[in-house]
Subunit: 163 residues, 2 copies
């Protein structure tokens, strides 16, 4: 399997998780959080799937396509390790859905980042809320879900905060 | 359709063109040319599909994943408008396949670049050779092909140089 194959599968799995949450989440109040804006493709998908919700966006900087720039008041710029706890401290509402595409080419650093962020992500999630992440999250209190449709496990990671 | 949807479709179409060429090209001698290395995902796919061929890589710089760095002797760095004619002037063999992923977020500039490069790309292609490009190429002497499988037209652009 080439890196192109792996990438396409990961994008498909990411999209499938987002689409599955959009179908399931109507009973849970709260905004969507996007960790890792990048070029804004996934943000564009989120705002189409969750048109009625605010989408808070976390990244080091806004470097997205001009058509995919979030409103400034919903951007939280800086290191995730600082901006995610700061969101909690702001007293913002719990999130119905967190999508976190936070990995880099450094696999070990990506896993460590996910591990560091995990407790705060769980604190931010509303009961019944969903978390989809490119990195595995191992944490008591977070229920692991199977990937939607016929996707192979391990392409993306999908969780729910129990009620 | 979101930008994520469009992107996944484009990646699938790109891969389908490459895989189709790999099946059809055995009777045509010559190297593969990759215009636009980027992070090297597609280069990785090309070297798996064309293990017996040299792959010349053209880009402004080598900024690929460490696992996807081409041999230096096969890299042609700089503006495509200079490096593609220079490849011809080197007296290198005609290409069995050119894959050109040359677009940027500026649609007009991308179309103009494809138009500027088209005559040289046709000059480099071996008779019976294939060209797959993210931009449309309109040029006498180049036969337009339908996309492989059940892909919608317009996601990628696929051509052959007649014998």
């Amino acid at each position: 399997m080439s890196r192109l194959d792996v990438f396409i599968r990961r994008m498909q799995a990411q999209r499938a998780c987002i689409d599955a949450v959009a179908e399931k989440i109507s009973g849970v109040a709260g905004p969507v959080l996007e960790l890792g804006l990048g070029n804004g493709r996934t943000y564009d998908h989120l705002r189409i799937r969750f048109p009625e919700r605010e989408i808070f966006v976390f990244d080091r900087e806004v470097a997205a396509h001009p058509d995919c720039i979030p409103p400034q008041r919903l951007c939280r710029l800086g290191d995730f390790r600082a901006t995610v706890p700061a969101y909690l401290a702001e007293g913002q509402p719990s999130a119905a859905f967190i999508h976190a595409d936070i990995g880099s080419s450094n696999k070990e650093a990506s896993l460590r980042l996910a591990e560091d962020l995990a407790p705060d992500l769980l604190s931010i999630l509303a009961p019944g809320g969903y978390l989809a992440c490119d990195q595995p999250i191992v944490l008591d209190g977070l229920e692991q879900l199977a990937l939607p449709a016929d996707l192979d496990e391990g392409r993306y990671h999908f969780y729910r905060c129990p009620h």
